[in-house]
Symmetry: none
Subunit: 300 residues, 2 copies
């Protein structure tokens, strides 16, 4: 017990099997370690791959100290034991195969490579979008939707599924929302909106005629607010929007740009959903509880 207390005092590590990454924990513990223990830490940090394949005895030999010290070190650094340290280390060591290769796909790719490329491309798209996205624009959009009398979501073609997706999300929150993916109907509904209302437009290019025209109708007749999700900040759509949320995407041969950006559009919709949910949490929680009850009845 005395020893345990000492170790804890020295390193300040509280919960074993702790919260920080293994390597960070090793480094962080370094200054407060006893000389013999520090030897272990240094050896492990310098021989990470080797350590994974070694036993306590081998590490002890490598670090020129006793086995007991290796074990003591593991505990001091906040691991449950030597095995735990190895597991923690392994989790951080990037699997060499996992590294993203985001060149284009090829018919020669085996299924596994293909999966990594496609998922990798989508992950890159999300990262790129996150980096270029203006969080305050999202916040403002959320605020506007949360306080709008009614929100009309529109999108045609490949953007229609995303509009649909956004609709199911906002609907869940219990806010007044409607969806139109038909060019004629969206224009009709837009014409009926007032200045308390809002149109949320999804359009990759931002240049598709139908949704832009619907927006213009809404603006002219009722003075509605407009939030758009698009890949093009210079587009006609952006020009008629109060808030524009921009996606970032790279085109590849088999996945046209429009396709790649959809995942980013969906993710922005997701972010809007969470943002609005937090702003209206009482209503949102009540709504999602009601929804869950109903859904359960629909299952086996």
């Amino acid at each position: 017990m005395t020893k345990t207390r000492r170790a804890t005092e020295r390193t300040g590590v509280k919960n074993m099997g702790g919260e920080a990454g293994a390597i960070a924990r090793l480094r962080g513990a370094l200054p407060s370690l006893l000389p013999a223990e520090r030897k272990v830490a240094i050896y492990v940090l310098e021989n990470q791959e080797t350590t994974l394949a070694s036993s306590v005895g081998e590490v002890a030999m490598g670090a020129q100290i006793s086995e007991a010290t290796v074990i003591r070190f593991c505990r001091t650094a906040g691991f449950l034991g030597f095995a735990d340290l190895k597991i923690g280390l392994a989790r951080e060591l990037v699997n060499p195969l996992a590294s993203t290769l985001h060149e284009d796909v090829s018919p020669k790719d085996d299924p596994s490579t293909l999966a990594r490329k496609v998922f990798g491309a989508n992950i890159d798209t999300l990262n790129d979008t996150l980096n270029s996205l203006d969080p305050f624009a999202v916040d403002k959009a959320g605020e506007m939707i949360a306080h709008a009398g009614k929100t009309l979501i529109i999108g045609v073609g490949t953007s229609a599924p995303i509009a649909f997706d956004a609709y199911t999300k906002l609907m869940r929150l219990g806010i007044p929302v409607s969806l139109q993916t038909d060019a004629h109907l969206m224009m009709m509904e837009a014409a009926l909106l007032t200045k308390n209302d809002l149109i949320l437009v999804i359009s990759h290019s931002g240049a598709t005629k139908d949704p832009v025209e619907a927006v213009q109708v809404g603006r002219k007749s009722g003075g509605v607010k407009v939030v758009s999700i698009t890949n093009n900040s210079m587009s006609p759509l952006a020009a008629v929007s109060d808030v524009t949320l921009i996606t970032a995407s790279r085109e590849t041969k088999f996945r046209s740009e429009a396709l790649a950006s959809r995942i980013a559009q969906a993710c922005i919709a997701d972010l809007l959903y969470v943002t609005i949910g937090l702003k209206t949490s009482k209503r949102a929680l009540a709504s999602s509880r009601k929804i869950e009850d109903v859904i359960t009845a629909k299952q086996f």
Copy 2:
């Protein structure tokens, strides 16, 4: 030696400590394993986190077989032993501690933090799904869809937008595909399918009555093939599917699990799209060129 030879012959695994990812190796070995060994493989695949903290005895108990079988399995699957398997597994498992931001969102989060959390959660979901996804199942599904007489895509509720999304993608490839998100219509259309046809089902829980019933109708009346995208490998849906593609998702307070998995479902649809595109590249290229021409006419 005899035993080692047998194992090698059965699995075709050559280099121990091998080159493929651990999870891929486990899955790849599955079909050629003995019944008792397969139990271990299934247990490990379904309890990856638990396995990392378990001893041979605990895994044996969990999989309801002997310790010896666990060890034998490790060798058959191409690992040096149980410890090696654990290390391999740890290397692939996304370190839950590494994505510190993954905790739940809070009303106190500023817009920027919120954006990072939501995008981060979605990126994690994609990573998790990629790690647990069986690429060969995707390949097989792609093959089946590419050669099917006709593919009916179904999904209700929150899965409907994803079904819609999958529809627009496959449609682009020029393959015969239809979409039904209405419970009655999907059942009617399913009843008309023949054994050359295929149903692609999207259902997060895999337990929603309507799509499963539609699949049963299709199976009974026409003997159609079934591919499903779901989060639950043990679901009623999986039980009636020829190929099941599994998403991985973690639930958080404001983003129910069903919502989190949608991005993974969309990404799998994306992967199917690319897979099929490569298999039918001539037709696919011709189709997308035609589509691009038409779309341009719809823009400013």
